[in-house]
Amino acid sequence: MIFFTPEKIRQDFPFFKHNPGVTYFDNACMTLKPQTVIDALQDYYNHSACAGRSHHQLAENINEKILNARTTIRKFINAHHNEEILFTRNTTEGINLLAQSMQFQPGDEVIITDKEHNSNLVPWIRLQKKKKITLKILPSNKDNTFNFAAYEQLLTEKTKLVALHHRSNLDGVTLPAKKIIQKAHDNNTLVMLDGAQATPSMEINLKELDADFYAFSGHKLCGPTGTGILYGKKEQLEQLEPYNLGGETVTNTTYDHYELKPLPERFEAGLQDYAGILGLAAAINYLKKIGMDTISNHEEKLNKIMTEELKEVITILGPEDHKQRSNILSFTIQNLDIHNIARILSTGEKIMTRSGAHCVHAWFNNHQLPGSIRASIYFYNTEAEAQHFVEAVRNIIKLQ
């Protein structure tokens, strides 16, 4: 871990040089990229060659770097084997890969919560229609925390998969993943976690969590866009039927037959985003230098400032206690339109937040809410920015 001062760390991010005065609080959507990641991308293109299928010296060099990147990512989430790390474009693709590749029978049950991102809702709705699976929606507690009693009631012998977010992009609440997984495994049920929001600031230990599948995105942890990972236990991945086939997924073909390659290549069809993968590894190395605990502590500190200063004048989504909402402050203000608030923050104060349903439309429709404003923090945000945000929101409230 390095000595942590966000003001100094910001020097690693060209964004701040090119956008002076901007407060970026849309980190739950995408994080900014440090120079080291940009350099990794550029370095690949400076020395790029056809990797994966060619055997010349340049290709071998890239193959070796990709292998090292896979190892870096495996260590980052503390998985057992490199073969368990599949490169995808993002979390959404990882979940879709699983939904399309798992062998479901009519009547099989899948459990999700009532506040899943569309990426972990729509694929299962489609399976409900196409393969006649039963999709069970687990209601959250009133404060949007995980309802364990309801979860236990929903689990049956027909439950094939529990597919949940690890940390919510709606309100930042982290689920008790280990307990959930233990309960599911006791029921012979597999568990997939959507780790898109958890991986940027949580220490992920999959050996300890024992999740069967874990999907996350690179662009939310300082990595390049278009990069993601689907982790799957080796024995579980071997049970899946790849839905995307072609170059690099097979060892040999005849006109009526193909032989699949071993893991992980059988799931990585076509030429991969090698630049992105190397950039993702660079991002992970960068985060590890800072330290995941340092990141989460800093997020908590800033969220505390914002929550404590504003909780009397805004309506917070999820628990009021900032410690339960990690890096997210999702809120509404009475009598003021959410999109107007976000726009005033952006145009007037250069504070970038997100307004709307945050791809959790089902939850907002169920609660008959138009959406919320979401301010999401990361380690490069400063206390001064948090104070600036508080002042700006207080001024906007005066418009009522």
């Binding site: 999109h339 107007n340 726009r343 007037g348 104060e349 906007i396 418009l399």
Partner: protein, 145 residues
């Protein structure tokens, strides 16, 4: 909705130079069309304009609040002013074309078009219009014959 109407001619003018404003012009037009056909305009453009204008006024909170809460009335006042201005401008242009004076036949009152007309440079037949430089030698380059 009302803000879209006011914005339409401005966006249309700026749209000549910028694709961004052409898109906004289309949005404003769609909004206007929906209003005329008694449908609800849901583009959100008026809200975006409202928020942007409010944001610029935030340094004077009372002014921002006044605009944010009464933007429809303020926009209506501007529409009435715009329509009134367009009406009187139209009459002026008609009079100028018909009588050579924007205030009507036989009027000697001030007319802006006459000012422009009077400023048109006149040519004096005794003064040469070409410019001469006495004793000047101009070299156009190249080697003299």
């Amino acid at each position: 909705m009302v803000l879209c109407w006011i914005a339409l001619p401005i966006f249309a003018l700026l749209g000549i130079f910028s694709a961004k404003y052409r898109k906004l012009t289309k949005e404003s037009l769609a909004c206007l069309f929906k209003t005329i056909t008694l449908q609800r305009c849901e583009s959100g453009l008026d809200q975006r304009i409202r928020a942007d204008i409010t944001a610029k006024m935030m340094h004077t909170p009372q002014l921002a609040k006044l605009f944010y809460n009464h933007y429809k009335i303020i926009a209506f006042i501007f529409i009435i002013l715009m329509l009134g201005s367009a009406y009187f401008s139209g009459i002026g242009v008609y009079n100028y074309v018909a009588y050579g004076n924007c205030n009507g036949e036989d009027s000697t009152a001030f007319c802006i078009f006459n000012v422009f007309e009077n400023e048109t440079p006149t040519t004096n037949s005794e003064t040469p219009t070409n410019c001469t430089l006495p004793n000047a030698s101009i070299s156009l380059g190249g080697t003299p014959p």
